[in-house]
């Protein structure tokens, strides 16, 4: 059961995302019926699943959403911004409930109850008090019986003929469950017809041979009844006829007390599904800002809010215990094909080997070439399994832009491009937070309010454009806005105020913008709860660097800001520089190398007689002798004329003294921990072409190692030097 539950949660979260995306699309003023159906289906699946797993609170809540959605999709109620926002809020609440259920807890019911009431109220409001005579649906614009207050007398009951197709069981449906569900609507009497039952010998127990006539007493409306059978509709013959015929023809009575006279937008919510409704919705979107319900979203950090928890809850969600990945069948088929080819190549080589003679050398060479090609393709395709389109990371952005622009009173158009660009699942998961942060920044600090934009002669609606594409072994993500850009003067003033720059100290232009990545700098004129808590761009930069990528910023004051993020496609392969220390080959990631140089004697100096420093680009680099660190013999040799690789990790720069630089190549990162343990100074290992193992250096770990090995005084001197080296580089 646990595994199904897990799948249910995964699918539900996907469903929520779908709903959210759909709702946001509706918000743009185009109540597309197909979108409404999609949203409805997602809600319906969540409700069904929740019911199956006994998550009653969830099922109940979703039911209320579904009621409203059902009315919207059938055009009995207009799609107003109010409704969309309420539904968006409900999606958040539902997500919170799902998360709580996933962690085995219960969500705070208050929020759900409050929302349920509002949903019901909206449904009630949408019920047109004056019945339209030519209402197309015979049952009238009724809400489902569960939806409070608007219950209205329905026919005295229904007679339902239910004759399932023989394959009903195969679809996972159980008639008994349907009857039980039906009996929740009223008293049910079931009559079973066994006429189709074959002789015992011919009986296939996996086929359904029975049919039923069900009589439902009570005031359920036809929709509710049909809904029970919704999942089996295509697999059965279903007839539903009213028990008391006069009930069905009745005009629906006015929903009792709709005291708040429907406003402009809802007045048009007549039960007919015509253009009129669409226009009304269009008008409504333009006419009023849906302020009341959106206020709660913007300030909830990057994650959807937990139910009951107020704003400012930036806590990341606990990752699900086991993560799974959905793989397109095409990818798997491609893999199978490739394995097939590999097998063929293998058997060909086998045959060749059985009676090999020199004249078959050419064939052997061909075969090996083919093997190499097969292997490479197989490797690439296996990698592709972990690749997911970046649209997963994009999914959250429209919502954030929607909520934030409401909140900030700005008009922003979000353009997302390259949604199908694929990248490693792990990279993508870690990319989401920085991306969200950058989007918030851009909205908060970048794009100006409409009035100001008008004055500047810009269109009132700002544009935020995000584009992803592949370039080399990297994925490039560009985030461009046409906002105010970054003011260099303001940035410099801030830096001086924060003591990062001495008064009168000037910086080259390109370094000024780099200041924004400095910890503790925020240029927001007033810190808002949206961004500008002083943590920000430095964290973004660190996150991206942790993924082995980098981020660049360009900005023209008054014209906008362009951010470019480069990320490796996968975390399991890196471009490495191979080098030799003693007899061993080691690897350092290419991204952390700044420069490789030959050591010049006159630039070397010593601190406290031991720690060696190297004069490099106006600073002093500590030199790490790798021979010494790795306990190789002849550790104390001459440094001059030796080779040094200048590497950087986070805030630290050091020079690594190595024996010989070898080639550069892509290596697959293997864990040392899987069978052994973490080793300070090494990020992992890889297998070289000749089958031997080479260790991959971890720069931060090496520095720690060096500090631990030296005497305290020495270590202190070195620490000062590392910081100094870094400081002089950034400032």
């Amino acid at each position: 059961m646990g595994q199904f539950l897990q799948t249910f949660f995964e699918e539900s979260f996907e469903g929520l995302q779908e709903m959210e995306a759909g709702l946001l699309a509706l918000d743009s003023g185009d109540p597309d019926t197909e979108t409404l159906h999609t949203i409805f289906r997602a809600a319906h699946s969540i409700k069904g699943g929740a019911g199956t797993f006994g998550l009653q609170a969830l099922a109940g809540f979703t039911h209320h959403m579904e009621t409203l959605l059902d009315r919207l999709r059938e055009g009995r109620q207009a799609v107003t911004p109010e409704a969309v926002n309420l539904l968006l809020e409900s999606v958040d609440c539902l997500r919170g409930m799902l998360e709580a259920a996933q962690d085995g807890g219960e969500a705070d019911p208050e929020q759900a109850v409050a929302l349920e009431k509002r949903l019901a109220a909206l449904v009630a409001e949408g019920n047109d008090p004056s019945p339209v005579p030519d209402a197309p649906e015979p049952e009238g614009p009724q809400a489902l019986p569960e939806s409070h207050a608007v219950d209205s007398p329905a026919p005295g009951g229904w007679q339902i003929g239910f004759r399932p197709e023989p394959h009903l069981f195969m679809t996972g449906n159980d008639p008994l469950r349907l009857v039980e569900e039906l009996s929740e609507l009223g008293d049910v009497t079931a009559e079973c017809h066994i006429g189709q039952l074959p002789a015992f010998g011919d009986l296939d127990p996996e086929q359904c041979h029975l049919s039923w006539t069900l009589t439902l007493q009570g005031g359920a409306d036809e929709d509710a009844v049909r809904e029970v059978f919704e999942w089996v509709e295509d697999d059965c013959e279903l007839t539903i006829s009213p028990l008391a015929p006069e009930g069905a023809e009745d005009e629906p009575p006015a929903a009792e007390g709709s005291p708040d006279a429907p406003e402009e937008s809802t007045a048009a919510a007549a039960p007919d599904v015509d253009d009129e409704g669409d226009e009304a919705a269009d008008a409504a979107v333009v006419s009023e800002a849906p302020a009341p319900s959106s206020a709660g979203h913007g300030d909830n950090g990057n994650q959807p809010p937990a139910p009951g928890a107020g704003g400012g809850n930036g806590q990341p969600r606990k990752p699900a215990a086991a993560s799974s990945i959905r793989v397109n069948t095409d990818k798997i088929d491609a893999l199978i094909d490739m394995v097939g080819e590999l097998v063929i190549t293998q058997s060909m080589l086998n045959q060749l080997g059985e009676d090999f003679s020199e004249d078959k050398l050419e064939q052997l060479r061909d075969g090996l070439g083919q093997l190499e090609r097969n292997t490479r393709e197989l490797q690439e395709n296996v990698m592709r399994i972990r690749m997911v389109p970046i649209s997963f990371a994009y999914a959250r952005l429209p919502r954030i832009v929607h909520d934030l622009s409401d909140k900030l009173g700005k008009q922003v158009e979000l353009k997302l491009e390259g949604e199908q660009t694929e990248l490693d699942k792990t990279v993508m998961e870690k990319l989401i937070d920085p991306l969200v942060h950058l989007v918030r920044n851009s909205l908060d600090h970048g794009i100006e309010p409409p009035a100001q934009r008008r004055e500047l002669g810009k269109p009132e609606t700002g544009t935020l454009e995000i584009e992803a594409y592949h370039k080399g072994g990297y994925i490039v993500i560009e985030i461009n806005d046409d906002g105010a850009g970054i003011s260099r003067d303001k940035l410099l003033a801030k830096a001086r105020a924060a003591g990062l720059l001495q008064a009168g100290e000037e910086l080259p232009d390109e370094q000024v913008l780099d200041l924004i990545f400095h910890p503790g700098l925020s240029t927001a004129e007033k810190a808002t709860d949206v961004s500008g808590r002083g943590v920000g761009m430095d964290v973004v930069k660190r996150n991206i660097r942790q993924l082995g990528g980098n981020i660049n910023l360009r900005s023209q004051p008054g014209e906008g800001t362009q951010l470019t993020i480069h990320l490796p496609l996968t975390l399991s392969i890196l471009d490495g520089q191979l080098f030799r220390v003693g007899d061993q080959v080691y690897i350092v990631p290419l991204v952390s190398i700044i420069e490789s140089l030959q050591i010049q004697r006159e630039k070397l100096s010593r601190v406290a007689g031991k720690a060696e420093l190297y004069h490099w680009r106006e600073g002093h680099l500590p030199v790490l002798r790798l021979r010494e660190l790795f306990n190789e013999p002849d550790a104390g040799g001459e440094l001059a004329n030796g080779l040094m690789v200048v590497v950087e990790d986070d805030d630290r720069r050091v020079g690594l003294h190595v024996d010989e630089l070898l080639g550069q190549q892509q290596v697959v990162i293997k864990s040392l921990e899987a069978n052994y343990q973490r080793v300070t100074g090494f990020a992992g290992a890889t297998i070289l072409g000749d089958g031997t193992v080479a260790l991959i250096l971890d720069i931060a770990g090496l520095v720690d190692l060096a500090q631990a090995q030296r005497k305290p005084a020495d270590a202190a001197a070195m620490r000062v030097a590392t910081e100094e080296a870094h400081g002089e580089q950034t400032q």
């Binding site: 061993q584 790795f630 069978n675 080793v679 300070t680 090494f682 290992a685 297998i687 080479a694 260790l695």
Partner: protein
Amino acid sequence: MSEMSASQQDAALQGTVGEGDQYLTFTLGDEEYGVDILRVQEIKGWSGATPIPNTPDYVKGVINMRGTIVPVIDLRERFGMPSREYTQFTVVVLVRVLGPGDKERIMGLVVDALSEVYGIPEDELRPPPEFGSIIRTDFIRGLAQVDEKMIIVLDADRLLAEEELATESV
């Protein structure tokens, strides 16, 4: 490796395999040690390892076992016996062990030479004496007498646990 499987088969055919659990034995100096044969993943000749700097001497380094990185431990050095130069008979026995949290790991043990496969019933395993062996008793699951020889049956899981403790203190 093929030699080994041959000798395993021989052992089985000649009936040297008794009742009970089967143990693969190997020698370190004059002593004969055994590990549960079900734990043995693979046996290969010594062909070098990539040393990991700043780990204890008995950790010979890591090797590539079909794409996974596996640490190799010299049992002689682990037990504090004088080390011996590796020869063509030096073999690496790759065993599965349970690490902390019952996580399965693979570890290579460098031994002087392989010996036999014996079946030793559980009740013939005697608890180790407090002393009398050059190694600490924590690694030993028990002693057994087979064909006039004493076999020291190792507790492979303990080897790793101890080994980890040792590295932490270095």
